[in-house]
Symmetry: D2
C-alpha cells in the first residue's frame, strides 16, 4: 500500500513536468480546475480524511488550506467556490509542491507506524481519488491548450489513439438474469454496490467503437441540422452553443484537424471518436438506426470486446443500485449526491491511470459534457 | 368514439367557464401556457394531424394558426417560441372559441363519414392529448392565481384534497421477475411499451402518501438547511431560488396556509403533500431514512394501495423501455425526445381528467418542477 | 382646470376604444407596460397624491390598488415589480374603468369644492403625468402590435407622418450667452429649472429632420457594419442584439416596409426617420461628418425650424440644471433620480398629447432605447 | 524623450518586482486585466503604432502577438476578447519580458536615428499610454489581492494615504465666463481639446476631500438603506450587488478595516475616502445636502486646493468638448468611442505615475465602477 501510495503521488507530479508555472493557474471555464488546485486538493484529501483523524499531534500544513482546497464536501465546511479557483494566484505552485511533500511524508510515517484497517481503507480511497484527479488534470490541461489560439503541445509523443481497425461486428447476448455490480474483495466505489441481479432482453452490441470517419459521415449527412435526430434539450443546446462538431475538431480551410495533447493533427478517420457529449452520441446512434447500450448490457458484454481507451456513453441514467448505502459523514458525499441528471459512462480512457478502472466502474457526466475522452459504442 | 370526442372538447370549454377574458392571456413564467393557447393548441392537433390529412377539401380555419399553435413539433414547421406565447393578444379568446367550434364540427363530420382505423387511432391520441392539456390548463391557472398577490379563487368548491387518514403501513413485495408496461388492447402512449420483464429485489412500499404534517416536521427539523440531505444540484437550486417550502404554502404571521383552486386555506396537516419537486421528495425520503420507489416497484405494487390523487415521484429516470420504437414522423416527437434529464411520476392527480391515467401511465418532469400536483410515497 | 382634467381623463379612454380586452393585458418586454396598467397608474396618481391628502373622508377604491399601480415611488411603499405587470390578469379591464370613474368623480367633487393653490398645482402635475402616459400607451401598443407576427392595425387612418419635404439647409447661430430653461408662469417640470445662462460656440443646425431615404443610404453604405462609426457600447449592442435597421422596419423580399399604428406600409423615403436609438443617431451623424446638437443648441435654435413630430436625440446627457432642486417627498422622485446614463431628447412626437410639450421640455431615454418616436436632426 | 521613454519602460517593470509569476496571470473579473497583459499591451502599442510604421525592415517579435495584445482598436484587427485574457497561460511571463526588451531596444534605435516630429508625437502618446497602464496595473493588483481571502501584501510600505487634516471650508467662485480645456504646447489627450469658454454660475467647493470618518457616518445613518438618496439605477445596483460599504472596507467583528496594497489596516477615519462609485459619491452628497462639482467647476477652482491623491468624481457626463475632433485611424479610437454612459473624474491618485496627470486631464469610468482610487469632493 505504501508503494502504491508513493507511486501515485509521484505520478501526479510527473504529469506536471511539461508545464510552465503559468499553466498551473488558469481556469478558462467553471468545470475545469487549475492544475495547482488538483495537486493541492488531492493532498487535502489525505490531510483532512486521514492525517487529522489518525496521526497524533498532526499539524495542518496551513490552516487556510482546507478552505482553499475542499472541493464539494459540505460536511467539511466552507470553501472557495468552484468558479473562483482560477482567481487565486496564491498559494503559489512552489508552495503547493511543498504542501504535497509535507503531507506525503506525514502519511508515509503514519503508514509505517500503523496498519489499522480503517486507515488502509481510507488511504486506498485517497489513492483512487488521486488517480481520478490525474485523469481530470489531463482533461483540464487538454481543455486549456485546446482552447488556446496557438494550441500548445503538452507532450509531443503523448498517445491518445484508440486503434481499432477491426471490421464492425455485432455481438449477441441472450436474454436472462445477470449479476451486475462489484463482487469480491478488490477496491470499488460505493456506487458499484450492491451487486444485484438484472434481467436483460436479447441484445446486440458492437465489437468496436465508432470511429472519426463514421462520425464525419453523420456530419456530412446533415446530422447536426436535423432536429428529429436529437433530444429536445440536445437541440436547444446545439442551437444555443453553436455545436457543429466534436469538441476538439477544428476546420482549417476545408481540412478537419483534431487537437490532442501532442498538438494539432490531421483528423485520423480510423481513430475512435472522442470528446462527444451524450447528446451527440445519442443523435449519432439514432441516425444509424441503433441505440446506445445500457450500462448493464455493457457490463454483461464487456469481456467480448476490448475496452479502456475511451469512456463509453451508455443510455443509463446515473442512479443508485438496489440497497445502495452512502458512507456515513463526508465520504458519503463522494458519489450519492450526484445521482440525478447525469449519464453513466463505462470503460476507461487513454487518460485513465493504471489500475484505476474496472469492469464495474461507473463514471458519470451531465449529458452535455464532453471534455472527458468520451466515445460511442452502438447497440441494438 | 364520437361521444368521447365531443365530451372531451366540451369539457375543456367547461373548465374555462369561471375565467375572465384577461385570465386566458397571461403567461407568468415560461413553462406555463396561456389558457387560450391550450384551447387552440389542442384544436390545432386535430386540424393538422387529422383534418388536413384525411378530410377532402378541408380548409384551414386560418393559415397563420399552425404557426401560432404548434407546441414543439419540429416536423410541423416553425412556431411561436414558447416564451412568447403570453405576448400575443391576438387571436382573441372569442376567435379561439370560434376556431374550436369550426374544427370540432369538421371532425364530427369526418368521423360520421369514415371509420378508417388510422383516423380513429389518431382521434384517440387527440382525445388523450386534449385530456393532458386539461390537466395542464388547471396547473397553469393554479400557477397564475397562486402567484397573484390577491390569490383569486377559481371555483370555490373545487376539491383538490387527497384524503388518506389511514395509518402508515409497509407493504412487502418479494423479489422476482415482473412484467412491466402496457399489455392488451386499450389505449396507451408509445412510452408505455414494449411490455417487458424486470427483475426486482425485495422491497417495501408505503400504503399511503406522505401528508403535509409529516413534511412540516421535516421543515421544522431544518430539512431545507441541511446540505447532506440533498442532491448537489438540488442544494444549488434551493440556494439560488430561495426554496423553503412547497410551492403553494404561504406563511402568514406564523400560520401556514396553502393555496388551492378554491383560494387560500389553512394548511391541512392530514391532506397529502403536493407541489414538491423531485429534489424535495428525495431530500424528505433521505431524512426519513427511506427512499422513493422505482417506477417498476410502483407498477408492481400499485394494486395494493389506492392512488390517483397525486402524481407520485419515483426514483426512475425517464428512459425508453427495451425495444421502444418512436412513431414515424411528427407523432414520434410526442414522447421520445424528452427522454433525458427527467424523472418519472406515476399515478394521477386531482386535476387528471377521467379515463386518462392508468397503472402503466408514465408522466415525467424535470426534477426541479413542481407546478404539477406531485406527491411522495416512500419505499425502502 | 376642471375642464382640462376631464378632457385629459376622457382622452385616455378614447385612446383605448380600438383595443380588444386581450390587448390591455400583455407586456411583451419589461419596458412596455400593459394598457390597463397605464389607465390605472394615472388614476392612482390622483388618488394617492391628491384625494387621500385633501379630500375629507376619502375612501380608497380598493386598498390593494396602491400596491398594484405604484410605478417607482419608493416613498409610496412596496409595489408590483415592473417586470410582473403583465403577469396579473386581475383587476380586469372593466374594474380598472370603474376605478377610473370613481376617482375622476371624486376629484371633480374636490375641485368643485376647493380651489386651494396646492391642490391645483398637484392636479396640473397629474394632468401632465397622464398626458405623458397617453404617449407611452401609444408607444406600448405600437410595440405590442409591431412585434406581433400579423401586425394588427390599431387605427387604419392613424397619422404618424412627419412631412418635411424642404431642401436641407444649415441654420447658423452665433456664439454668445443664451438663457436656457423654463421662464414665466406656465407649467413646467422641475427638470426644466432653474433658468440659467449658457455660453455657446458658433454652430449650425439643420432646418429639417433626417428622413428614411437618408438613413437607408447609411445602411446601404454598410453603416451597421463599420465599427469606427459607433460608440464602443453601441457596437457591443448592435452585435449582441443583431441590430441592422430601425425598430419598425421590416424587409420583405428585398422591399423595406415600416410598421405604423395603421399597419405595415411601404417605407416612405421622404418621411422623417423614427424609432432609432441614440447609438444609431450618433453613428449616422458620424457617417455624415456631422454631430447631434446639444440640448442647449436645440433650445436656442428651435424657433428657426418647425418641430414636434419626432422626439429629437441630442448629444446632451440628462443632468440637473444649475441650482436644480428636487421637490420634497415622493414627487421629488419624478425626475431627479433618473439623471444618470440617459440622453436628452427635445421636441415632441406624433404621439404627444396636445398642450403637453414645449420648447424647454426635456424628454430622456437610455441610449439604446428606441420604442419612443425618436428622430435625428444634425448639427455641426 | 529617449530618457522619458526608457524610464517609463523601466518603471513598469519595477512595479512587477514584488509579484510572483502566478500573480501575472489571473483575471478575477472582466474589467481587470492580468499583469502580463498590461506589460505586453503597452509594448504592442509601440510596436504596432510606431515600429511597424517607421522602422525599416522591422520584424514583429511574434506574428501572433498583435492578436493577443490589442485591447480595443477595431482598426487594428481581431483580438482576444477582453473576458478571455486570463484564460491564456502562454506566452509566459518570461517571454513577455523578452518581448518588452526587444521592442524597447528597437524603439531606442529608432529614436537615436530619427527625430521626425510624427514619430516623437507617437512616442509621447505611447509613453502616456504606458503610464495609464501603470496605474491600471496597480488598480488590478489591488483588486486581485483585495479579493483574495488572505489579503496578500504587495509592498509593505506602499503609501496610498491622502492626508488632509485641514478643517473643511467652502471656497467661493463667482459666476462668469471661464476658459476650459488644454492650452499651450504641452502634451494632452484629444479629449481635453478644444479649449473653449464656459459660463459658470456662482458656486462653492470644498477645500478638502471627504474622509472615511464622514462616510462612516453616512453608513451609520442608514445611507445604504434609504432609496431617496440614490439614483434609480444606483438603487437597483446596490440591491442586486449587495453593496453596503466602499470596495475595500471589510468588517471584522464590529471593527472596520481597509485593504490597501500594504495589506489589511484598521480603517483610518482621517484618510480620504476612496474606491467608491459615482453612485455612492452622489448618494453621499445628497445626504449631505450638497452635490458633486461639475468638471468645469473643478477645473476653474483647482488651484485653490491641493489635489492628486484621489481621482475625484464629478457630476459631468463624459462628452466631447465643442469642436472636438477624433484623430484619424486607429488612434481616433483612444477616447472618442467611450463618450457615452460614463462620468468624468478629475485630479489623480496615489497610483498615478509622475508627470501623468494635469489640471485639464479627464479620466472617466462608468458610474458603478470603483476599483480606481476614486474619492469625493463636495460642492454646492
Amino acid at each position: 500500500m505504501i508503494q502504491e501510495f508513493i507511486e501515485t503521488r509521484a505520478y501526479s507530479e510527473q504529469l506536471c513536468k511539461p508545464l510552465q508555472t503559468e499553466d498551473f493557474v488558469i481556469q478558462p471555464v467553471e468545470f475545469v480546475s487549475p492544475t495547482k488546485w488538483h495537486l493541492a486538493h488531492t493532498t487535502w484529501f489525505f490531510e483532512v480524511f486521514i492525517l487529522t483523524q489518525f496521526k497524533t499531534d498532526y499539524q495542518l500544513y496551513n490552516e487556510d488550506f482546507p478552505y482553499f482546497f475542499n472541493s464539494y464536501y459540505e460536511a467539511k465546511g466552507e470553501r472557495v467556490s468552484r468558479a473562483h479557483r482560477g482567481n487565486l494566484s496564491r498559494p503559489t505552485v512552489d508552495e503547493v509542491f511543498n504542501y504535497r511533500t509535507y503531507v506525503t511524508q506525514a502519511l508515509k510515517e503514519l503508514l509505517t507506524s500503523s496498519d489499522k484497517k480503517e486507515i488502509l481503507n481510507l488511504v486506498e480511497i485517497g489513492i483512487h481519488h488521486e488517480k481520478q484527479h490525474q485523469e481530470l488534470l489531463l482533461m483540464d490541461i487538454k481543455y486549456c491548450f485546446g482552447h488556446h489560439p496557438l494550441y500548445p503541445t503538452y507532450v509531443s509523443n503523448f498517445d491518445e489513439k484508440s486503434s481499432e481497425d477491426a471490421t464492425q461486428n455485432w455481438l449477441s447476448i441472450q436474454e436472462g438474469l445477470y449479476k451486475i455490480g462489484h463482487q469480491g474483495d478488490g477496491f470499488c466505489y460505493d456506487n458499484e454496490t450492491q451487486a444485484h441481479q438484472v434481467f436483460l432482453q436479447d441484445f446486440e452490441i458492437s465489437n468496436r467503437l465508432v470511429n472519426n470517419g463514421e462520425f464525419l459521415q453523420f456530419m456530412e449527412d446533415g446530422g447536426y441540422k436535423d432536429p428529429l435526430l436529437w433530444h429536445a434539450e440536445a437541440w436547444d443546446w446545439i442551437q444555443s452553443e453553436n455545436i457543429e462538431h466534436p469538441l476538439y475538431w477544428r476546420k482549417n480551410e476545408d481540412t478537419w484537424k483534431e487537437f490532442k495533447l501532442n498538438g494539432l493533427n490531421p483528423l485520423d478517420l480510423k481513430d475512435s471518436l472522442s470528446h462527444v457529449s451524450y447528446f451527440e452520441a445519442a443523435a449519432f446512434a439514432q441516425w444509424k438506426g441503433c441505440r446506445l447500450p445500457t450500462e448493464f448490457e455493457w457490463e454483461v458484454a464487456q469481456d467480448l470486446f476490448s475496452w479502456g481507451r475511451r469512456w463509453e456513453w451508455t443510455e443509463s441514467a446515473y442512479l443508485p443500485y438496489p440497497n445502495y448505502k452512502k458512507a456515513p459523514g463526508a465520504l458519503g458525499e463522494y458519489n450519492g449526491k450526484f445521482m440525478v441528471n447525469q449519464k453513466v459512462l463505462r470503460g476507461g480512457s487513454a487518460f485513465t491511470s493504471k489500475n484505476h478502472t474496472r469492469k464495474t466502474y461507473r463514471n458519470f457526466f451531465h449529458p452535455d459534457m464532453r471534455w472527458q475522452q468520451s466515445g460511442v459504442r452502438l447497440a441494438k
